[in-house]
């Protein structure tokens, strides 16, 4: 500690007036957002993960236009081994695994992104409302959170999907309905402390409405934790969707997703391992990449945490 102080003081004393003002200018012209972006861009693991994520997005949404086979094409032979024409072989009904993987990744990504966006929107709105208004609304919203937390998400999702056909957007909506609670709790906690600060009081004194205070004053100040939790929600949604579909209770054929692909092919683990490891690698790299991006964002938004945290 003492060393750091000495170095800092030494730096100030030693710097010549010219170079000092130059550094000062450089520091002044950077906004908070630029600082965060710089720190994020320098986070090596997060940048690699971002690359992997972008690659997977391209694989899922551009890949089908490039690749010879469509996910619906049924080729003549079932269970062909890996070859030049079928890099990951074919499935039992003779569909090309690579084309299936593109389609499955696209659906899993769509579902995960919708879940994360909806869950973040609901969670932030409810959490900020509860933390800012307090009193009765706070009690009602937080009891609602308690209530939703006691019902196992996977069971309710399964029942609803069963009741309303297994379209992918139904799965996304149900998962979102049960994914916003943790974000609401975090947002509420932050709002509780932020709402005590002078700038909120000033905004209220100026006659700003509650929605304006929440979305113009509170939310921008919580953008760090909101972004991080939204990213982590994507990773969680990828895994939950896959698990639900793996049980046969999520996305239903003819729609497909990574979970459905694993479900249909894991019986071939011993004889045709590529049919299992292909979707496995896509699924794990997707969730790992998103988790690492979230970690990088957390470090970028709050560099103090890096010292203690992993």
């Amino acid at each position: 500690m003492a060393n750091i102080n000495l170095a800092a003081e030494g730096g100030v004393v030693n710097s010549a007036p010219g170079s000092g003002s130059h550094e000062f200018d450089a520091a002044k012209t950077r906004t908070q957002g630029q600082l965060v972006l710089r720190r994020f861009l320098r986070h090596r693991l997060a940048m690699v993960s971002l690359g992997v994520f972008v690659f997977l997005v391209l694989f899922a949404f551009v890949g089908p236009f490039v690749w010879t086979y469509d996910y619906e094409d049924v080729t003549s032979k079932s269970y062909q081994p890996m070859s030049g024409t079928h890099p990951l072989g074919t499935t039992q009904v003779g569909k090309d695994m690579l084309a299936l993987l593109m389609r499955g990744t696209a659906y899993s990504l769509q579902i995960a992104l919708i879940v994360a966006a909806l869950a973040t929107a609901i969670g932030v709105t409810f959490g900020a409302l509860a933390g800012y208004l307090r009193g009765f609304i706070d009690t009602v919203l937080m009891r609602l959170v308690d209530l939703l937390l006691i019902i196992p998400q996977i069971a309710v999702a399964a029942i609803v999907v069963k009741g309303f056909s297994g379209s992918w957007y139904v799965v996304a909506l149900v998962l979102a309905a049960f994914a916003w609670m943790s974000i609401a709790r975090i947002t509420r906690g932050e709002t509780l402390s932020l709402a005590q600060r002078e700038f909120i009081e000033a905004a209220r004194a100026c006659g700003a409405s509650t929605p304006r205070i929440i979305f113009k004053h509170l939310v921008p100040n919580m953008i760090g934790s909101i972004t991080v939790n939204a990213t982590l929600a994507i990773a969680a949604a990828v895994l939950t969707e896959a698990a639900l579909s793996f049980l046969g209770l999520g996305v239903q054929p003819p729609d497909t997703s990574l979970g459905v692909i694993v479900l249909e092919n894991y019986g071939q683990f011993m004889n045709r391992p590529w049919l299992f490891w292909g979707p496995f690698i896509v699924l794990v790299s997707l969730s790992l990449a998103v988790n690492f991006i979230g970690d990088g964002l957390r470090d970028a938004f709050d560099p103090r945490q890096t010292k203690v945290r992993a």
């Binding site: 009891r143 308690d146 209530l147 937390l149 006691i150 019902i151 196992p152 998400q153 996977i154 069971a155 309710v156 399964a158 029942i159 609803v160 069963k162 009741g163 309303f164 990773a235 895994l239 896959a242 698990a243 793996f246 049980l247 046969g248 209770l249 979970g259 694993v262 894991y266 683990f269 011993m270 299992f276 496995f280 699924l283 794990v284 969730s287 790992l288 988790n291 203690v308 945290r309 992993a310």
Partner: protein, 332 residues
């Protein structure tokens, strides 16, 4: 403390009531249990009407919920109405499944907790060592791993291990199916052999996932404590390193993990559901999947009521344990 527990129990009653009503409405709107009957040959409109009256489906949902609730509380959990189940009673079906799942979950969680805490503490004490990097990256990897993939991998390598054992002239040890309903028979050694063989693979699969969360969490809280002032004071007093770590830091770093252990119950349960499905155990997971597939409202309600009650109980335990371990938290 007793007053606090009683108050919390009283609060959970309305939560459970509202929760069970929400579940009932959900199950009632999700589908018509008689939909399949309509397409069976020889079923007339009058038969359908009679079945509807017999099941009480002609009454409004409030009255049906009230009837279900009073029956449920008096111990009559109803009968399965799925096809081909010969009207299985819900109560024994759910409790049997719970017993199967419980044995799996408790073993896996205790193992995961012990391993996770030890690895987390070691990684924190030797921060930035090779062990730390290894443990942290393994935990991160497991954390991002879909549990069904872990279960599939563990299961298949278990089968290969069996093949190796067989080629060495030994018995196949690991079982990739659920425990037999009648329990294990034979001599003591045989029972141990069969028991471990049956439980080892699913326990390992389930453990790996929880282990990741516990070790990450324990490492973070241990690091935080090791950097705190009172630990520095203890070191400055000249207390030995091991005493500082175990008497001062470790005890405090256990507090957050112990609450995670109880709060994690919902996640562990869904992990168990998936593990069971892969290994074909007849536990809560299989019961849920079958009841949803065949659309069996009484069974689903029994399932939901039991799990919701358990989750509420575990949340209460988490709060009580937190209060006992950390005297700074005042309950009440």
């Amino acid at each position: 403390m007793i007053r606090y527990i009683i108050r919390r129990l009283l609060i959970s009653i309305p939560i459970l009531l509202i929760g069970s009503f929400a579940c009932y409405v959900l199950v009632a709107t999700a589908g018509n249990p008689l939909a399949e009957m309509r397409f069976r040959p020889g079923v007339t409109e009058a038969d359908l009407k009679a079945a509807e009256v017999a099941l009480g489906l002609d009454k409004p949902v409030f009255i049906r919920y009230w009837n279900w609730l009073t029956d449920f509380l008096s111990g009559d959990w109803g009968q399965s109405i799925a096809l081909g189940q010969a009207k299985t009673a819900v109560f024994p079906a759910v409790t049997d499944a719970l017993w199967t799942t419980g044995r799996l979950v408790i073993g896996a969680e205790l193992l995961a907790l012990t391993l996770g805490v030890s690895v987390g503490v070691l990684a924190a004490v030797r921060q930035y060592s090779i062990f730390d990097y290894l443990a942290t990256s393994t935990a991160f990897l497991m954390f991002s791993m879909p549990i069904f993939c872990v279960a599939v991998i563990v299961k298949n390598y278990g089968i290969q291990f069996n093949n190796v054992l067989e080629s060495m002239g030994l018995d196949r040890w690991l079982t990739t199916a659920g425990p037999r309903p009648g329990g294990f028979s034979g001599s003591f050694g045989e029972v141990i052999f069969k028991y471990t063989g049956t439980f080892l693979l699913p326990t390992v699969a389930l453990m790996l996932i929880s282990f990741a969360a516990y070790s990450r969490f324990e490492r973070a809280s241990m690091l935080e404590i090791l950097h705190s002032d009172f630990v520095r004071t203890a070191r400055a007093k000249g207390i030995s390193q091991s005493r500082v770590i175990f008497k001062h830091a470790f005890r405090n770093a256990l507090i957050p993990v112990s609450t995670l252990f109880s709060l994690n119950f919902g996640a562990v349960l869904s992990g168990a559901i998936i593990t069971e499905t892969v290994f074909g155990w007849a536990g809560m997971g299989t019961l849920l999947v079958n009841s949803v597939r065949q659309f069996d409202p009484p069974m689903l309600m029994g399932w939901l009521a039991v799990t919701a009650t358990l989750i509420v109980l575990f949340n209460l335990i988490a709060d009580v344990v937190y209060g006992i371990l950390d005297p700074r938290i005042r309950l009440g």
